[in-house]
């Protein structure tokens, strides 16, 4: 657990970057600092490992005041991922990742094994260890940066916009991997981003900072979306927050039985659109009856459309219903087909759900 206790940072030139900041980042969870540029996110993060010294107040990690520890010692116990990876160009990927274990004076073999292990974790197993940073893509460098921060088995990780330099498609994937990794490791993480979507996706707690380094709101993502503390938070979270809020709402939605077909089948009379599943019952895609003549083959499949998880969020149901070519959203339980949902029925449930903010949940700009 990391506790900010009335922390203020005033730089020599008089700039107040962080103003009387108090919050608690829970152990084993991801806490995200978010806010507009220059609001003091990086400064707050860097005060945790004392790359910047607070002017007032104190920061406690598991009850210990960081001010009472030697900075270098403190930092060796905290994983730190800086914005542009900051890899050492003269060292191989492996040796980069071995930095902290070496500083901690682990024996060579253990340090090496651990480094290879975390590289594997971030999806850079095998050959990559021998390369130099200059031979990696930006996204791969970021992963090495994360691996390097993980290598010393830190109980706390600080991450400054770790996914910012990566293109949106790759970023999504990395974020998902990162969430899985965090779930497995149970590290206490404080992360900085200026992207509210990333904050909501990754954070267990979100601290919204405003200009001048003051805390505007500290809460869980669903709470932040449902109950923005003031106009600043509301506008920062954005006007489509109603749609985002659906990510946190669950409700009963009528699930219709769907009679699936399999590859190789010949279509009998029936509905226009048929859902194809594999032998294990997992959905493969839709086929349009008019476009199929012989036995069903993989080329007849119309892919696309997201799958909703049974008992999952309303947003999942809505996305599945709206993105399906047949107008029937596919719902799965595990990997297996559970049934389909109808868009009108999903919307009906959404309309009926209690609305905290009293605003229309679907604004006209919503993707449909």
């Amino acid at each position: 657990m990391i506790r900010f206790d009335g922390v203020t940072k005033r730089f020599e030139d008089g700039t107040v970057a962080v103003d009387d900041l108090s919050f608690e980042a829970p152990a084993g969870k991801i806490t995200v600092l978010v806010g507009p540029s220059g609001c003091g996110k990086t400064t707050s993060l860097r005060m945790i490992n004392r790359m910047i010294e607070p002017s007032e107040g104190s920061i406690l990690i598991d009850g210990t005041d960081t001010g009472s520890l030697a900075p270098a010692e403190l930092r060796r116990g905290i994983g730190y991922v800086i914005q542009h990876a900051g890899l050492f160009p003269h060292r191989t990927v492996l040796s980069n990742v071995m930095t902290v274990p070496s500083l901690l004076k682990w024996d060579k073999k253990r340090a090496r094994d651990r480094a290879l292990e975390v590289l594997e974790l971030v999806g850079l197993g095998g050959d990559y260890a021998k390369r130099y940073p200059g031979q990696l893509s930006g996204g791969q460098q970021q992963r090495v940066g994360v691996a390097r921060a993980l290598a010393g088995d830190p109980s706390v990780m600080l991450m400054d916009e770790p996914f910012s330099a990566i293109d949106p498609v790759v970023r999504e994937g990395l974020q998902d991997e990162f969430l899985k990794l965090q779930e497995a490791l149970g590290t206490t993480i404080v992360m900085v981003t200026h992207d509210i979507d990333e904050a909501i996706k990754l954070g267990d707690r979100i601290a919204v900072l405003r200009q001048g380094g003051r805390l505007a709101q500290f809460s869980s993502p669903d709470d932040l979306l449902a109950h923005p503390a003031d106009d600043f938070v509301a506008s920062f979270v954005g006007r489509d927050r109603g749609y985002r809020a659906l990510s946190f709402k669950t409700a009963e939605v009528p699930i219709h039985h769907e009679a699936p077909v399999r590859l190789g089948d010949r279509l009998g009379p029936g509905e226009e659109w048929r859902l194809v599943v594999d032998d294990a019952g997992a959905p493969l895609g839709w086929v349009h009856a008019d476009e199929v003549t012989g036995p069903l083959s993989a080329t007849d499949l119309q892919l696309g459309g997201t799958l909703a998880t049974l008992g999952g969020s309303l947003r999942g149901y809505l996305d599945a219903a709206l993105s399906s070519p047949s107008g029937r959203g596919v719902v799965v339980e595990g990997a297996e087909l559970a049934g389909t949902v109808r868009p009108d029925e999903v919307l009906h449930v959404i309309q009926a759900a209690p609305r905290a903010t009293g605003e229309t949940i679907l604004s006209p700009e919503e993707p449909a």
């Binding site: 800086i82 900051g86 890899l87 200059g134």
Partner: protein, 227 residues
């Protein structure tokens, strides 16, 4: 004429003895490495300090540019005239020359080291500190290794400057391969002059080549592409 030079170079009598080619070659190398060592002793720590802290960088930039404009021959003569009355024996020639060699070698080494440290990616430096390296560890494990390509080019151009100026210094009585150029001219023996000149050129090329090899061995291949 070329055959005369060849004859001079292949005459074993010219190679042996206290004033022979081997002896002068050794002297030249000793003087050059001594001067480079002394220059590095002063310039490397200073360059590391300036590159690390950014303090006094205006001085370095102007020093390196300004020193190129100073004619080494003139400085050499001034040093000898100033120091000759105060020294005796062989030191009278050696000390002023070595001082000039060192002084002229300092700017290139200094600016190489400074530029090398200064161009280290600030993000890498920041990450090093953030992972818990002490100031000394940041310097030895990150800044110096990353600065090596430019440190080497500073040392190499200093060494070429030293070898060239040591050659000239034969005119004030310094030993080394320059003797053949100056003595040959005094006796109007072009074969000796040109033979000596070839040796000096060969020495400079060889030393630079060896430094290049050392650089390849010492500098991380990860930095090679950035060079």
């Amino acid at each position: 004429m070329i055959s005369l030079v060849g004859e001079w170079l292949t005459d074993p009598a010219n190679w042996s003895g206290a004033r022979g080619i081997w002896a002068q070659l050794v002297t030249h190398l000793q003087l050059s490495f001594l001067a480079l060592f002394l220059a590095a002793l002063i310039a490397v720590p200073l360059g590391l300090y300036i590159g690390h802290t950014g303090r006094g960088r205006v001085v370095v930039v102007n020093l390196a540019g300004g020193f190129r404009a100073v004619p080494s021959l003139g400085v050499l003569f001034i040093a000898v005239l100033l120091l000759l009355p105060r020294l005796s024996g062989e030191a009278a020639f050696v000390v002023p020359s070595v001082i000039v060699l060192v002084v002229l070698a300092i700017p290139p080494v200094l600016s190489g080291v400074y530029a090398g440290v200064q161009q280290v990616d600030p993000a890498a430096r920041d990450a090093a500190r953030g992972m818990g390296m002490t100031g000394g560890q940041v310097l030895t494990q990150v800044e110096i290794p990353c600065a090596l390509p430019l440190i080497f080019s500073g040392l190499r151009s200093a060494m070429l400057q030293i070898i060239a100026t040591a050659t000239i210094a034969a005119v004030v009585g310094l030993g080394g391969l320059g003797r053949f150029l100056i003595d040959g001219q005094a006796t109007r023996d072009y074969a000796e002059m040109a033979g000596g000149a070839l040796l000096v050129a060969g020495l400079a090329l060889t030393v630079d080549f060896v430094f290049g090899l050392a650089q390849r061995l010492v500098v991380s291949p990860g930095l090679a592409r950035a060079e």
